[in-house]
Amino acid sequence: MKLELLFVTVAAAILVLPAKLCATDDPSSRIQAFIEAHEKKLSAFGEKMQSASREEQRAIYQNEYPDPTAAAFAITEIVKANPEDAASLDGIVWILRYSRGGNIDPEIIAVLEEHHLNKEKMVEVAASLMRVPTPEARALLKKASEKSEIKDVRGMAIYALAMGIERDTSKSEEYTALIERLINDHQDLEIRGRNIAKSAEGKLFAAKNLGIGKQAPEIVGKDVDGNEMKLSDYLGKVVVIDFWGDW
């Protein structure tokens, strides 16, 4: 028994030793090491998927997609120990990208709030938090939308706050107010080359005029033969408006 215990202890020490050695490295290279290791697994996975047949692909995807949980957990620990470090923000951006709107450690949110509100990368963080419904994430976005010194961070935080409640009909007034703020103050905000305020204008029109209980806005147009027609021609009838295409 005692021998076994000794063996386990020695084995544990051997395992822990490299980790300790690593700990002397700066947070940046440690975080990068985890990210690179995971990206390597991802590209190996991608190659395997590409060379597999169609039938095999589904099974490979289900069973072998590299789980980012362990790497995310390790990076989270480094972030907590080095909250102010710029590398921690990189680590958080990576975690958010792979968490796919899942649960985010509230401590991570606290780190962002305390140390990184005024950094350019918060734009990407805000975009990632769009689909994270936790109160901590919403509170962080609200703070970023009001307090960040960087204009695009404020804009993206407003947009993310709005998108998070887009489908919640009980919050349509809050949604409309956010979209109006975006259109008024952030005409230049872009995400992957797409102008946010411009697409928001359509959403605002919809929020204001196309809700249940609203008078439907007039439609004036033509049929396929060029004959003019308008929606108000059908007043007095129950109308099913059907946006359709034959595809």
């Binding site: 359509g202 008078q215 439907a216 439609i219 929606l231 007095g236 034959d246």
Partner: protein, 99 residues
């Protein structure tokens, strides 16, 4: 979609009801679709693509998108399909003629 809409239109024949389409197909395809699927109800033709002016103004991002309006032109239901569309229409017809 087509068979259900055809039967709804048939059931509402001679009643104050219409389906009003907003079509996003190229003109030729639209003409063909009307013929092949016996589409008798009117449609706006929205310029031949999903980026047409009406769909854009109404912020349509998925097709089909459905709005059901009462006789006063007020939006009462959105994106009801199949049976839910029938129920919505029936409820609004009843408002119009409670008997």
């Amino acid at each position: 979609m087509y068979p259900h809409e055809r039967s709804l239109v048939a059931r509402m024949k001679d009643k104050p009801f219409t389906i009003l389409g907003v079509n996003s197909d190229p003109a030729e395809r639209y003409r063909k679709a009307i013929k092949e699927n016996e589409i008798t109800w009117p449609s706006f033709w929205d310029g031949g693509s999903t980026g047409g002016p009406i769909a854009t103004k109404w912020a349509v991002s998925g097709w089909p998108t459905i709005y059901v309006l009462d006789a006063q032109g007020v939006i009462r239901y959105k994106n009801v399909r199949g049976e839910a569309m029938d129920e919505a229409v029936d409820a609004l017809m009843k408002e119009l003629d409670p008997s």
